[in-house]
Symmetry: C2
Subunit: 286 residues, 2 copies
């Protein structure tokens, strides 16, 4: 059962080619290194160094086991760093709940800096809309959420505005509405609407006529591409993934800017990494 310290001495000695040098670098006495490596060789049943020369030189077997020892040390370093982060109050994982309305560009720009600042953080992205998303936040399943501004927030949910997202009304070019060069709002009611729904019970979709609905904007967009009706969609989503198969309706007042809120739970506030991300998302908006 080789000890971690013995492995560290082994790696250091192999790296510098001398036991004394390893002892100096690790703040131990030379005899300690000599004895520790001798013990390690007994434990492993393998001669690691050829000591016939003035300086010890790794045997082929030692060279092979050196790679294994370095892996052990690397794993232990990760453990220690993760523990140090947790001890400093860092959350072990940060779960984000994203609405399709949120364009991911700004988040992606921050991810590399987030990874550098919290190297042991596990980042998770969930997709949900409105009520589903708030439920994720409220239950603690996710710590931060990005949604279009809701008409009502539960008392435990805190929110702050972030960069807005542009929304447009889209139909397939084959759709009857696609021909008109100008459309009045009343005309929309004559055609099928494609709306967001949520799996969350309680909030009945305010249906007028028989709308079609889907739980994500991506599915709504595919329905619109199928020509089944008109849908309000994030412009960035259509531009990025819609190809040229959708057409924006020229209604007065459209496309409109939709306020995107970042939301979190007051009872289960996000940890340092979440707060850091939160500040970055709300502070400077382009």
């Amino acid at each position: 059962m080789p000890s971690i310290e013995a492995l560290r001495l082994f790696v250091e000695a192999a790296a510098h080619g001398a036991f004394s040098e390893a002892a100096r670098r690790l703040g131990k006495s030379q005899s300690t290194v000599s004895a520790a490596i001798a013990n390690l060789e007994v434990d492993l049943g393998v001669v690691l160094f050829d000591r016939s020369a003035r300086l010890p030189v790794l045997t082929p077997a030692g060279r092979h086991l050196l790679a294994n020892a370095e892996q052990v040390l690397a794993a232990q370093d990760r453990l220690l760093r993760a523990a140090a982060g947790l001890a400093a109050g860092h959350e072990p994982r940060l779960s984000l709940a994203l609405s399709d309305t949120y364009q991911p560009e700004r988040l992606e720009a921050l991810q590399s800096e987030l990874a550098a600042r919290y190297p042991e953080l596990a980042l998770e992205c969930l997709i949900a809309e409105s009520d589903d998303l708030l439920a994720l936040i409220d239950s603690g399943r996710a710590q931060l959420g990005f949604v279009e501004r809701q008409p009502y927030y539960p008392p435990d949910i805190e929110y702050a505005a972030t960069a807005p997202s542009q929304m447009g009304l889209y139909v397939s070019p084959r759709h009857p509405l696609a021909q008109n060069s100008r459309i009045e709002p009343a005309q929309l009611d004559a055609h099928r609407a494609l709306r967001l729904t949520t799996v969350q019970a309680g909030t009945a979709p305010r249906a007028r006529g028989h709308n079609w609905s889907a739980p994500s904007y991506l599915m709504l967009m595919e329905m619109a591409q199928g020509g089944f009706g008109w849908a309000e969609l994030p412009c960035w989503l259509v531009e990025r993934y819609g190809g040229n198969t959708l057409q924006m309706l020229p209604l007065p007042g459209w496309p409109r800017l939709l306020t995107i809120d970042v939301v979190w739970s007051r009872r289960r506030p996000p940890g340092p990494a979440g707060v850091w991300l939160l500040e970055r998302m709300t502070d400077s908006r382009p």
Copy 2:
């Protein structure tokens, strides 16, 4: 600096949800486990278990660090297994030198069993022909080689026959020889031959006329596909990678069977894994 044993106790306790159970399984006393985990928590600065209930239950931080601890133990297990293998005389790596004449099917069939039998073995495949390959074996760079039978082997090279490989004479369909329904050997001399060459000096290519040559059958095949001459190629290579761009010449006595030898050095004999593979390659031939 957490010790390996403490990590093992931690993982075992977390896996079974009880310190006593971990103590029983690892043959330690209950107090040892209790103290070791308490020390570990101090070392890491993180509370791993919530002890308010009857049985200790992992904290979120503990659950996160558990994954790290398991990685450390896994790395240490690999180290110990590798050391045990080396102590048993296993070679740390096995390098094979393969000729293009050798069809890799039989070798591939044995690789999974080899990996199961020697899990810590690093396997390496080199490509070389005739003299180059023998040089790899003789220098110790590779331990086993598979070549067409050579007219002469150096004294330190041992060899044994293995499954033969079928060789054919091929040309591009655009080549003049491709039209004939029967060819006499003398006709070949009238056209350019594509032959193997080696980077090894000393053995001058027995050139008659100005042959073209390349150091691998794969390059020879591509030359033949270009219509630059005729080449003797392994049938399996043409069938597998040649597409339909090559045509076999109908010479009497062709295609012929080429004896494939497995060769190794007498001065640097292969280790147990190499010997095991050697026996499997020579014993039962289909």
